[in-house]
């Protein structure tokens, strides 16, 4: 978690490609929590990591609300994307357990929801609706790209 937060605030927050793309990779932490995590703990961890990002980015509440929102939606998204043979006990919601396409769907949906919440709270008005939507889509794609990349580099299959 701390590694992720530091990585986010020290490196990714400084990435801004042509004013559109801000990758927010720290949501990976919520994505990768084990299936058995109690749901209240999900929300608390989302709150904690969002708040710690906010403290560094000096935007109290912005990332917190978006991450809590995403943590709230995670169980429903998991239920929606359940594979044919259900989630096996002892596994984690990671690429190497459930395959590339499942993980892509899973991360894409949640990251997209998170980004929608985050960017609209940041802009906080409806005037630039489509401009913001473009930013959301591009940033979400880039975030998902980084998240999947991390699966290959960091979270290898641990059995």
């Amino acid at each position: 978690m701390f590694v992720l937060v530091l990585f986010q605030v020290l490196i990714l927050n400084n990435i801004q490609i042509s004013g559109y793309v801000n990758p927010y990779m720290y949501v990976l932490f919520i994505l990768l929590l084990p299936f058995e995590t109690p749901r209240w703990l999900l929300l608390i961890s989302g709150f904690a990591i969002g708040l710690s990002i906010d403290l560094f980015a000096n935007t109290p509440g912005m990332h917190t609300s978006a991450t809590v929102f995403m943590a709230f939606l995670r169980p429903y998204v998991l239920k929606l994307l359940v594979p044919h043979d259900d989630y096996e006990p002892g596994t984690y919601p990671r690429l190497f357990y459930y395959g590339f396409s499942w993980f892509l769907k899973y991360s894409l949906v949640l990251v997209f929801l998170h980004h929608i919440f985050l960017f609209y709270v940041e802009v906080f008005r409806t005037t630039y609706f489509f401009h913001t939507m473009l930013r959301i889509i591009l940033s979400a794609i880039f975030s998902v790209f980084l998240i999947i990349l991390s699966q290959y580099f960091v979270y290898r299959k641990q059995i």
Partner: protein, 274 residues
């Protein structure tokens, strides 16, 4: 109580979500100036709209009261306007000037009724004894002589018009001061006749006829009209047709003249007559 606990346990996820979300949004709104300002302006725009609607309704319901108030205010303002307008004039003309020794005192009044098409025409003015008007005061307008006050009540006065065949006024030719008697022949409201001008006087068309000031009612030199036509009739005097300089049909405001030295003058003249 147990039910409440059960409810909280059953929905702890949703409740916790709402609580955490509420905390983070309150953080957001309290510590981010931009979002705070947006939020405040947003809520203000909503409350403003509500207030405006409510205000519209209450204003509509109060229309009657507002109308009454406006009408009241209107009349008040009108009263002030009229009074100041005339009061100004009163004060202006009644100044106690010890150098020039004021001789005449003007009071402005409004014509509220008059006739021009009878043989004996009168006017009614909206000022009476309350404004210091008494009978036998002269009445003029900016354009010329109107007539003489014949009777007054508290707030009104009647004026015998120049256009009255009983009315006679002393008038003179402005260029050489020969004076005669002016009266109306009862035919045309735009012209009067001037008699008793000796026939050796040179009278030309366009000569100005003014008041003579011999009557102690009207000051000297107030314009009456201009000569239109003159002929010698029956002996030594002209009969002169005079075009009136004022149009009696369009009279609105007139001035009532009081001669401050009139009593003195008439007293003295009565002594001679006796």
């Amino acid at each position: 109580m147990r039910n409440l606990f059960r409810f909280i346990i059953a929905y702890h996820f949703q409740i916790l979500f709402i609580v955490l979300e509420a905390i983070s949004i309150s953080l957001l709104l309290n510590h981010n100036d931009f979002q705070k300002a947006r939020f405040i302006s947003f809520t203000h725009s909503i409350t403003g709209r509500v207030y405006k609607k409510v205000n519209n309704i209450t204003r509509y319901l109060a229309l009657k009261k507002i109308n009454d108030k406006l009408a009241e205010e209107n009349t008040k303002l009108k009263n002030i306007l009229q009074r100041t307008y005339r009061a100004d004039e009163l004060f202006f003309f009644s100044e106690h000037d010890t150098i020039y020794h004021q001789h005449y005192f003007y009071t402005s009044a409004k014509v509220i009724n008059q006739t021009v098409n009878k043989q004996h025409n009168f006017l009614t003015l909206d000022k009476g004894s309350d404004a210091g008007i008494i009978p036998e005061m002269g009445v003029v307008s900016n354009g010329g002589v109107i007539g003489i006050v014949v009777s007054v009540s508290k707030r009104f006065s009647t004026v015998i018009s120049l256009l009255n065949s009983d009315f006679r006024v002393s008038a003179k030719l402005a260029k050489n001061n020969y004076f005669g008697s002016l009266h109306w022949d009862g035919k045309d409201y735009r012209s009067v006749k001037l008699n008793e001008i000796p026939y050796h006087i040179d009278v030309t068309v366009g000569d100005t006829v003014v008041t003579s000031g011999y009557s102690a009612i009207l000051p000297e030199g107030i314009i009456i009209g201009t000569v239109r036509n003159s002929e010698v009739k029956g002996g030594n005097f002209y009969e002169i047709d005079v075009d009136l300089s004022i149009d009696f049909k369009s009279l609105v405001y007139v001035k009532v003249i009081s001669n401050l030295r009139r009593e003195e003058q008439t007293e003295l003249e009565e002594v001679i007559n006796e």
